[in-house]
């Protein structure tokens, strides 16, 4: 039994669902003592952490600085916490915030780090991660006394492992000055579901034709509880925001269900979504490349099929 730190992200008082998979990985079927590291107040949610295997919950703050002012302060506070409790294994999420913190922590400690893992083996100190834009996986061994890794959101299914966790508060006593500061967080579209977090994604390609036409996908998405993505052609044409792009130069996603509407299935797009559990393509061309590498296909016009699906969901 060893001690494993699980980096927990809390946004607006909520723990991300994909973060629970981090606890599952850290606990390794109850083989480890799991220290859930939280750096924002979220008392009401602590029982969720217990449900998924946390044995201790460390609330990290600093009486000398507001940690939320800089990711460097948070990273330093986490390193202090690791030192305090003898944590030599740390697992977090390779989400935008998680991957940033993990990289800051590992660089500062001058220890190896592997991001975006699909699975981790804490005993063997190995991980599986994607390589070559999702064309291969690599089994990678971490040769170090430390084991620091980030997990691809949704790659590890959270498993319940209820127990009782002791809650400790830790004053990391870190302070400034810091060379990098958060000035403002801008929410360009707060109702939008995070692509990398979503269980279901419905994406549109070039044939969607306009920003306005994307509403067809938005409506279907709200019925499905899905996030909306786009191909690069759709983004470059100005139909969709940069942040919605799936693929090699966009987001890498692995939802349970990916619905590609009017997307040809170019390698660069496929690279970003091929690890989705089920891929469905809606395409007018029965010979479109994507139909040669997905689970289900509907041959037809997205402008007819997508509204029909929305209707069928009512």
């Amino acid at each position: 039994m060893s001690i494993v730190g699980a980096l927990i992200e809390i946004t607006n008082g909520k723990i991300k669902k994909s973060n629970l998979g981090v606890l599952t990985a850290a606990s390794d079927r109850g083989n480890n003592e799991v220290y859930a590291l939280v750096f924002e107040d979220a008392d009401s949610r602590f029982n969720t952490l217990e449900q998924y295997g946390a044995t201790r919950i460390v609330r990290i703050s600093s009486s000398k600085a507001d940690l939320m002012k800089s990711p460097d302060l948070i990273a330093r506070a986490i390193i202090k916490t690791m030192e305090e409790y003898g944590i030599m294994s740390l697992i977090g999420l390779s989400s935008p915030i998680g991957k940033d913190l993990l990289s800051r922590i590992a660089s500062r400690m001058n220890k190896p780090l592997i991001q975006d893992c699909i699975s981790v083996d804490l005993t063997k100190k190995t991980v599986i991660k994607s390589h070559f834009s999702g064309k291969t996986t690599a089994e990678v061994k971490i040769e170090s006394d430390y084991f620091i890794s980030g997990i691809r959101p949704n790659a590890i299914e959270p498993a319940k492992s209820p127990g009782k966790a002791e809650i400790i508060s830790f004053d990391a006593l870190v302070d400034g000055p810091v060379g990098v500061r958060i000035k403002e967080i801008k929410q360009s579209d707060s109702n939008r579901l995070d692509l990398t977090e979503a269980n279901i994604i419905i994406s549109g390609g070039r044939p969607v034709g306009s920003e306005k036409n994307f509403s067809i996908l938005n409506e279907c998405a709200s019925k499905l509880g899905a996030a909306v993505g786009a191909s690069r052609s759709a983004v470059d044409a100005g139909f969709a925001l940069h942040g919605m792009q799936v693929g090699q130069t966009g987001k890498t996603v692995s939802p349970k269900l990916y619905i590609a509407c009017g997307i040809s299935g170019a390698v660069q797009h496929y690279a970003g979504m091929k690890t989705s559990k089920i891929i469905v393509a809606i395409n007018t061309d029965k010979d479109a490349p994507i139909l040669g590498k997905c689970d289900y296909g509907i041959i037809g016009d997205l402008f007819e099929i997508v509204p029909a699906i929305t209707e069928a969901l009512k």
Binding site: S107, H131, T136, V178, G179, I182, I185, G243, I305, I309
Partner: protein
Amino acid sequence: MKIFVCVKHVPDTAANIKIIDGSNFDDNVKFVVNPYDEYAIEQAVQIKKEKGVEVIIVTLGTDQALATIRSALAMGADRGIHIKTDMLITDAMTTGLALKNIIQKEGGADLVITGKQSVDTEGMQIQYRLALGLGMPVVTDAVSMMLDNGLATVECERGNGEIAVMELDMPCLIGATKGLNEPRYPKLPDILKAKRKPVKEIALTELVPQLPVDKTVIMSFSLIPEKGQANIIEGTPVEAASRFVELLEEEALI
């Protein structure tokens, strides 16, 4: 002002990767400038136009990586530094150290720009290791940046449609992503001119005589099997749609 841009030579994402002996790959494929690094180069070249600065490309890679340095020079950078190695893949700890050592050897940087990640190893961390080594603040996933009065104001994409506006003391390091700019396509005269721009060579073994003890080791690669031919859901749009929804219910997806 001296801007260093770190650029990696990587297999084209459209290339067919063949695994050799479990943990190597056949490098007989097309290699290109790491796509994210193109945004870094473009940004540096745009800053150069405004303020008259020197833009230096640094690449750690095999002999073939010179092609990537030339491509970057064709986009408008002034000179290149090629850190040479025989290894097709170098560990992140080593790469970070090599890039740090060369920048220090060259007298330091006022600004370093990298891509947000390499598309071959998908490491997502060199920018942080390098910044730490140089004692610079760092952010990544930059979609806009403004330099003014010793401060960099950078908008970073954070998913969820969220943008974090970050302020950094300069010198600093910024990791670029799509959205920062539109990388230019060099024209023939630029490509020809790039051939005459100076590229310094230095061996990795000279720059980092002692490789870090802590490291990661690739044990094996496996191809991710692509899904096969789709099962076609037949019928009129309405029929197909309702069959599809039934299927989602069966798979407990809704």
